[in-house]
């Protein structure tokens, strides 16, 4: 019976094949992300040393020296401890920014869908503007001229990718309005806020969640790029990009300072991309 069912099944589509093949990689990705999240949450508990604790007698000691699993940097600070703290900072920024840009973008998209006319045009022109300037260039200008603070950095990163959410949610909301269920609740006397939040949002949420998994790694890369250039997270606070930036000066003598955070950045963005692709195949109704 089952055998027959498999035999008569149509040739598996690409999506289905990924779903059968990917789980090992996806599981690994999820495990890595869980490890990162746990590290970020328990940073204070698992960190062997204080981030700023210097030990000038043990400067630039190589990885696997007793007491310093990943070695020390130019001031004798423990690389592992700094790495753990950096993971926390980078993830918190990326997480906060992803939420911000999703909320902001979706809200604008819904506004465009609700009011149409000039409001919609204005929002689309703003989206064009956002797409016309590389985000790195834009943030460079803003950060350097307003000075770099944590709040500004999160706020700025929160603009990353809003235009995608706005375009998606506008399109989906307009098509949802045409589908009848939204019109039906409007006829029943629901306020626009209720229609959008209780009826349209749940129907478009999966697509939005998929875009969030796509923007999340890009925000990590953007933040680490800015911090690498010395314009993102400022010392004494450290982030993954800023560790790479400072480690760069010791590239020849102590490559581990720069390699450890680089590895974390790559593994994390890779994991999110894998999990996000898998999630898209699972959740996104628009590609079915």
């Amino acid at each position: 019976m089952t055998y027959q069912a498999i035999n008569t099944a149509p040739v598996p589509s690409l999506i289905r094949r990924i779903r059968f093949k990917a789980p090992l990689l996806v599981t690994l990705g999820l495990a890595w992300l869980a490890l990162m999240a746990l590290t970020a949450i328990c940073a204070d508990l698992v960190r062997p040393y204080e981030v700023t604790q210097m030990d000038l007698s043990a400067r630039l000691s190589a990885p696997l020296t007793p007491g310093h699993l990943l070695g020390t940097d130019e001031l004798g600070r423990d690389v592992l401890s700094r790495l753990i703290q950096s993971i926390r900072v980078s993830l918190v920024i990326a997480f906060g920014a992803t939420i911000l840009s999703a909320v902001f973008g979706t809200l604008l998209g819904f506004l465009a869908a609700q009011f149409r006319g000039p409001v919609e045009h204005l929002i689309l022109v703003l989206a064009d503007f956002q797409a016309a300037l590389p985000f790195l260039i834009l943030s460079l200008a803003v950060l350097a001229f307003f000075g770099s603070s944590m709040m500004l950095l999160v706020g700025l990163m929160g603009f990353y990718g809003w235009e995608r959410y706005a375009r998606i949610s506008r399109g989906l909301a307009i098509s949802a309005g045409a589908q009848g269920y939204a019109a039906a609740v409007v006829q029943l006397g629901a306020t626009p806020a209720r229609v959008y939040l209780r009826h349209i949002l749940p129907n478009v949420a999966s697509t939005l969640i998929v875009s969030m998994t796509l923007t999340f790694p890009e925000i990590i890369l953007m933040e680490s790029g800015l911090s690498f250039l010395g314009l993102g997270v400022q010392p004494p606070q450290s982030s993954l990009g800023n560790m790479v930036g400072f480690g760069r000066e010791y590239l020849t003598r102590a490559p581990w300072i720069m390699l450890a955070p680089s590895f974390i950045i790559m593994m994390t963005t890779l994991s999110i991309s894998l999990v996000g692709d898998w999630l898209r195949d699972k959740l996104d109704p628009t590609i079915r």
Partner: protein, 309 residues
């Protein structure tokens, strides 16, 4: 077609105007240029003289219109640092950046598209999987990590290539390599999926059924149709190319506009930053306009009627 093109040109012009406004507003609201240039201890009369000279005492809308007017006359202001014309500073650095970005774009196109198309035509083969894995790897590795790893391997350990500077072609190898990797990954992935989608279309089946050779099916039927989405991605890549140049030029001490941007941003050199923002935004807008025109050439259906936007 004409109205379609005119709308695109109008939107492009509007975008550039918005970028100019943005640059102006952000840079003027962020602080007093006089205090920044002269330092906090500057005597009052020299601050006043400075403000009068740069027109900083006028109301902001007046400054804005003066700014727009001067840009219309191709006058982008004078660098506050060394008093040379901002546009000349930028133009001086432009060739160095083009020397990196143009070869990078050619390499990306030359490797990314064939790799993606090949993978799409040989699905499930070892080559296909290799292309997928490498392309995922290519765009998850940040360019600054890639650059430093290349320096570590080829400059520090092997000593084959210099790690920075701009004296000979050998200095350009590592920066170009660093910038190429991400774009190759993105292009390969998109060309692969575009090609897979086209190969599943009924007209491909028809072409094969009427006995065309495999080569003709691919070259005359599949590739022209897959080229539209691929060209879209190429348009978007111009932006990441410029952003990539900022990081890569800073790693390899390459004297292009990316380095100039970082230096003038940290010096708060308003005129140069505005000029750079404008040059970068214009080049992206022009690239996307070219993409829009290319659609018309690639897809005869668009010539007949404008697509709904």
């Amino acid at each position: 077609m004409l109205t379609y093109m005119l709308t695109r040109v109008f939107r492009a012009a509007l975008t550039i105007l918005l970028v100019m406004t943005f640059a102006f507003v952000v840079l003027r609201l962020s602080g007093d240029p006089a205090a920044i240039m002269l330092g906090p201890d500057a005597p009052t009369d020299s601050v006043d003289a400075f403000r009068a000279e740069w027109g900083l005492d006028d109301p902001i809308w007046k400054q804005y219109f003066a700014y727009l007017k001067s840009i219309a006359q191709l006058d982008f202001g004078i660098s506050m640092r060394d008093r040379s014309s901002a546009i000349m500073l930028v133009l001086e650095r432009l060739p160095a950046t083009l020397a990196l970005t143009v070869p990078t774009l050619l390499i990306q196109l030359g490797i990314g598209i064939p790799a993606g198309v090949y993978a799409a035509l040989h699905r499930q083969s070892v080559a296909d999987r290799g292309v997928i894995m490498l392309s995922i790897f290519g765009f998850t590795i940040p360019s600054f990590v890639m650059g430093l790893l290349l320096v570590l391997i080829f400059a520090v350990t092997l000593g084959w290539l210099p790690s920075g500077g701009q004296d000979s072609w050998r200095h350009a190898v590592l920066p170009i390599l660093t910038m190429s990797v991400g774009g190759i990954g993105i292009l390969a992935r998109f060309s692969r999926s575009a090609m897979i989608e086209v190969m599943g279309q009924p007209y491909i089946r028809t072409a094969m059924a009427k006995g065309l050779s495999w080569r003709d099916v691919v070259w005359k039927h599949a590739l022209p149709n897959a080229s539209v989405p691929i060209v879209t991605i190429v348009g978007f890549m111009v932006g990441s190319l410029i952003a990539g140049a900022v990081v890569v030029e800073s790693i390899f001490s390459w004297p292009g506009i990316g380095r100039l941007l970082i230096v003038s941003v940290s010096n708060r050199d308003l005129a140069v930053v505005q000029c750079l923002l404008l040059v970068i935004a214009s080049s992206m807008v022009i690239a996307n306009l070219c993409v829009d025109f290319a659609y018309g050439l690639l897809d005869p259906r668009l010539r007949a009627k404008a697509p709904a936007h």
